[in-house]
């Protein structure tokens, strides 16, 4: 599933009038690719996730998934956010099967459960299947949220800063969980993040957006893949890449001023 965003502009209606957030943004994401989108805060990154998932329509321009124009939500998309938004009244397993209850209504509960358990094992939470979300730590909740976003085998996974609220160590654990999931389930992924190291470690393409209204400012391939380790982040090449990205972000911020 390659994704094409073609000359997309978007604006929101606010009390102060129309607020343009995206302007003439074009970018393409390879099939099975992992693209990280970074940019100054408030530049419209989350708007991209809502556009690609079909939750909102762009004011101008088109978005295509596998050459098919998106006009409404697709059941082949999975989403996870900074807030894990687990349903507190459901235990872990029942939280994970939620998307299946919508997109695969004919699937038996035992089949749903076994799909969910497979993912839960992958993220290392199999003993917690019957716990309530209130009994889990922040990192565990985010793992469950990732399982939920993947349980219906989506072709596109959209992650909107899912690791932003976690402490540094938990974050790095979850990066490796993400590598594992990407290796096991082959999806196309869009990751919105503020963390350049995270972008470089997880993605094979990093996109820097300019300040609001955002357009494409910088687009770079990384040489990272699922086999890389955290320690690889400290190589001279990566340090250089991070410096370049940081520089691009600074340019984007100045433009905003």
């Amino acid at each position: 599933m390659h994704i094409n965003i073609e000359r997309v502009s978007h604006q929101y209606e606010t009390k102060q009038g129309m607020l343009p957030v995206l302007k003439d943004l074009s970018l393409s994401i390879n099939k099975k690719g992992f693209t990280a989108i970074v940019g100054p805060s408030g530049c419209g990154k989350s708007t991209i996730t809502r556009l690609v998932s079909g939750l909102i329509k762009p004011t101008e321009g088109n978005i295509f998934i596998s050459n098919k124009r998106i006009t409404s939500p697709l059941s082949t998309v999975g989403m996870a956010f900074q807030n894990p938004v687990l349903l507190e009244w459901r235990n872990v397993i029942k939280n994970i099967v939620l998307p299946l209850e919508i997109v695969s209504k004919n699937m038996s509960y035992s089949q749903m459960k076994s799909n969910a358990l497979d993912l839960l094992k992958l993220v290392g939470l199999q003993e917690f299947e019957n716990n309530l979300p209130s009994e889990l730590s922040g990192g565990m909740k985010q793992r469950v949220s990732l399982c939920r976003s993947l349980v219906h085998n989506p072709e596109v996974l959209i992650l909107d800063e899912p690791f932003a609220a976690l402490d540094a160590f938990t974050k790095e654990d979850l990066w490796d969980v993400m590598h594992k999931l990407k290796k096991e389930r082959d999806f196309t992924c869009i990751l919105i993040t503020h963390d350049l190291r995270e972008a470089v470690y997880l993605a094979d393409q990093v996109i820097v957006l300019s300040g609001r209204p955002a357009s494409l400012q910088y687009d770079v391939k990384t040489n990272f893949n699922e086999e890389n380790k955290i320690s690889d982040l400290y190589s001279p090449e990566v340090t250089e890449l991070l410096a370049t990205l940081r520089n691009q972000i600074e340019i984007a911020q100045n433009k905003n001023d």
């Binding site: 079909g54 807030n83 938004v85 349903l87 507190e88 939620l98 919508i102 997109v103």
Partner: protein
């Protein structure tokens, strides 16, 4: 241990309350027509024990039926107002204004409209007095649902009903039960307003009125205490239901 404590502690506080009450009356030397003491109540109960049973039951069933109907009215209005901003801004002033009207003044109006239909009159007053907290809490709960909760399901192509049924409704249950507790106690006020203001010879309100007419003050107090006990009883039924349906929201 905690189970026993949950029973013993409220019981102890009740006993202490009665002792202080008795002491207060005894210390001031009040006669029972000024303020009855707990020790005056039991004879009053005993003397009218059958009436307490019959009238107590009449008051109880009308309150419960009224409460169930007010849940239905409150839920339906709350759901409409929670989902549609137009309905919300349209209905709020009317509901708030309506709730601000003292219900005692509505009693004669209702009694005149449905003259002689005492059960129905009483139940209508119960509904009018207790639907409001439920309606407000449901509409606020639904209209403040975080966008991400909707997005998880909307991005999969779920319809409005699925979002309501799978997320919005269960998520609003704790607020609903909070409001139901308020409504439960209000419901007794509703029943007794009708029974006292428009006496039809039914219910504990009528017994209270008879106590007033015959200057039997211990009887009046005994009625009030019975109402309090029935209120506590219904309240704990709501707590029990809350534990079943929204137990996940209660901190252990």
């Amino acid at each position: 241990m905690t189970r026993i404590n949950n029973f013993i502690i409220p019981l102890l506080s009740l006993i202490i309350f009665c002792l202080l009450w008795e002491l207060l009356v005894w210390y001031n030397g009040w006669p029972n027509y000024k303020m009855a003491s707990p020790s005056d109540l039991w004879p009053a109960f005993w003397k009218f024990k059958y009436l307490f049973l019959i009238y107590g039951w009449e008051t109880l069933w009308r309150t419960v039926v009224g409460l169930i109907l007010s849940v239905l009215v409150g839920l339906s209005l709350g759901i409409m107002m929670g989902f549609s901003k137009t309905i919300r801004i349209g209905l709020y002033p009317i509901l708030v204004g309506f709730n601000a009207i003292p219900k005692a003044t509505v009693v004669p109006v209702i009694a005149l409209i449905f003259v002689g239909m005492h059960n129905m009159n009483t139940i209508i007053i119960v509904i009018l007095i207790s639907f409001f907290p439920i309606c407000v809490s449901i509409s606020i709960g639904l209209s403040t649902l975080e966008r991400e909760y909707e997005d998880i399901l909307l991005s999969l192509g779920a319809n409005k009903f699925e979002i309501f049924y799978k997320i919005a409704l269960p998520k609003t249950l704790p607020e609903f039960f909070g409001a139901l507790k308020v409504s439960t106690t209000l419901a007794f006020i509703g029943t007794n307003l009708m029974e006292i203001i428009e006496p039809h010879g039914k219910g504990l309100g009528h017994l209270f009125d008879s106590g007033k007419i015959s200057a039997d003050y211990p009887l009046m107090f005994a009625v009030l205490i019975t109402l309090a006990v029935m209120g506590i009883f219904l309240y704990y039924i709501v707590v029990y239901l809350e534990n079943i349906f929204a137990g996940w929201a209660i901190r252990k």
